[in-house]
């Protein structure tokens, strides 16, 4: 009996780690979720954040404003790429920052690769599984130590509008300012 249970555990790990890896993150109950699947034709926006990245944190109000404003056209997911972030820690983070968005863990960086993102906070915008924009949310931060009083460009919002209207997105991606995802194992 004991031996059987142990084997089942191993099988499950393999399943999570390999079989389901393609285009999926994990929700906070540990279920594999493909955020690009259930979109009913809407634009999909993945927003990559790190709990230990102060720039990610400062963007929370802007992320919430944008996700509310474009709720009719787009579906938003927060993606946490740090494999050491437990579901409990992420839940606490969502409550602390007042987020009302679904969150995914991306411990193997599958969504990071899919979205071509490098930094938190950056976003990846999809339609019909096609990546149409990846890069910064806006130009608020210039370097880690210099931020504008307010952003003067709005790349994420421009991309959502363009994709929703079926227009081509100018692929002039500018990387975000914040924390490197590649520093995470």
């Amino acid at each position: 009996m004991r031996v059987f249970r142990l084997l089942a555990g191993v099988v499950l790990l393999v399943a999570l780690g390999r079989g389901w890896a393609q285009q999926t993150g994990f929700d906070l109950d540990g279920r594999a979720v493909d955020p690009l699947a259930a979109s009913s034709g809407k634009v999909i926006v993945l927003i990559f954040v790190r709990r230990d990245c102060p720039v990610s944190g400062r963007y929370a109000p802007a992320i919430q404003r944008i996700s509310k404003e474009y709720a009719d056209r787009a579906v938003f997911w927060l993606v946490y790429p740090d494999k050491n972030d437990s579901p409990e820690a992420i839940r606490a983070h969502l409550v602390e920052f007042g987020y009302h968005l679904p969150a995914l863990r991306d411990p193997a960086h599958e969504l990071v690769k899919l979205g071509h993102v490098q930094i938190t906070p950056e976003v990846a915008v999809f339609r019909n599984r096609q990546l149409t924009y990846d890069g910064r949310i806006d130009d608020w931060y210039v370097t880690l130590s210099r931020a504008r009083p307010a952003p003067t460009t709005h790349e994420l919002e421009d991309a959502i509008r363009a994709v929703a209207e079926g227009k081509a997105v100018a692929r002039n991606e500018v990387r975000g300012v914040g924390c490197y995802i590649s520093d995470l194992e």
């Binding site: 990245c53 102060p54 920052f97 504008r148 009083p149 307010a150 924390c179 995470l184």
Partner: protein
Amino acid sequence: MSVRAYRPLGIAVLLVGGAIGVRATKPAQHSQAPASSQVTYNRNIAPIVYRSCAMCHRPGEAGPFNLLSYSDVKKHARQIAEVTQSRAMPPWLPAPQEATFADELRLSEQEIKLIQKWVEEGEAEGAASDLPRAPQFVEGWQLGQPDMILRAAKPFTLPAQGTDTYWNFVFRVPINDTQWVRAVEIRPGDKRYVHHANIMVDRAGAARKREAEPGAGFGGMEIRIESQVFDPDSHLLFWKPGTVPSVEPEGMALRLDRGTDLILNTHMQPSGKPEVIQPSIGLYFTPRSATKFPMLLQLENDARLDIPPGDKNFLVTDDFTLPVDVDLMAIYPHAHYLGKDLQAYATLPDGKKAMLIHIPQWNLNWQAVYRYAKPLRLPQGTTISMRYTYDNSAENPMNPNHPPVQVVGGNRSSDEMCHLWLQVLPVNFDRAQGDPRMVLQEALARHNIEKNPGDFEAHYNLAAMLQARNDLEAAIPEYEAAVRLRSDDAAANNGLGAALLAAGHADQAAPYLQEALKARPDYFDAHYNLGFALAQQNDYQGAAEQFESALQVQPKDANAEANLGAALAEMGKFPEAKAHFERALQIDPNQPIARDNLDAVNKAIQEQ
């Protein structure tokens, strides 16, 4: 008669020398890796991190994440390589110069290269035996349990979003007798969101009047504090991330009197969620009163700040020649978001130039007070020069206006400033020549008037200093100039009235004192002085009314009671007069007028 006009230099700001960081490890010989050998965390990187990062990047401190272990550092390795190469981290704005600062937080070129190489080579951990001993940090109050802890009466809730926020907390110091402070530790609330904080000493209860209710605090980036006596600000009490409180040099304790408030001016940045900020201040007392009296000198030229939109290199200067020898202890340059290149240098009497500070890329977020490693001797005749440039173009990302607009000097964060504070200790002076700080203040006031004849405060302060020296002939025209500039200023009108009164022109004094009372009906000094002026003109009824009004403002003033008694006695109202003399003596048994007059009035009553 007491003339109570004195209100010298307004602006207080600043810091107790902010020692920066805990030096837990010596600059490591470990970090000198031969170019050929592999760079490892344990051998090469940990010593740098322990010395230059860990004091802020640890629990409870300002750093947004910990940098205490290999895994901590690896988790931010590329980011660290980037921000050290750009010298954004560790935050240290001044360029290298001959006059070094205490606790410089600058990485060497070698250290920066090592970090680059470590990341390029794959961030190896290395041999455990190479890892130096971890830094030991003092928990809690850094200098031990303070003698007195002041906690902000009400917390401030920092909104989740918005621009930088400036808030002032007023701390009432609950002491009955004068105390001497040898050290101050500022705990700014949550260190992650407070960018800097400095304490102003308010000896006149000026700031608390701005609170909607006691303890509520008030907003504002820059505040001005007036004082009643010649008591120039002397200490720079400043906190920024990594600051470890330092003990004032021997003999330079800060005086705190009953009724003194400490105002903590804080600069905060929203974090993305609401934050509750409730600072506290720890005071460390010493039984030894001060024997050395530093003061803060301010160079500025805000009147020249009128920066056209698009101007990338707008220069503002000020040059002040020292009238006495001083030791320069600390320096604090200050501009807002358009500040670009800030420098100050000294030209010594022999023509030699010494850089005092040069910040090639100003960043308000990391402003700081810089203490010199060794005080810098600047002899009489040295000229201190301030050279600040401003970038009001769209290329300056910190520009608060988009698109840029004309910007002038002012207290709001969207206005500009060009201030340079220097903490100086006068040396080699002759006591017989008077207080050298007074000499400095007078020279500064004259300099400011020359620079800007419309500088109300300079005229006022110069007048007050001349008056304090009893040079009424010189003081009166300066007060007149101040009143011309601000005809409705209560203090200036009172000062002019008081000076005229002291010079024997009671008739000329009265209208100015009345003007002062129009501006500020509950102005004790003006009621008192007007009462005196009317008494001089034999209007005892009018005088009595003024002294009564003065007593309504300050019921326990022995001088006003004695003078009220005198006015009533002059009118023949002896029993009433007697009552006031007795009250004056209850308040102050040594009040000389009341004592003499009480004898006289008793005799008069007997004679009746």
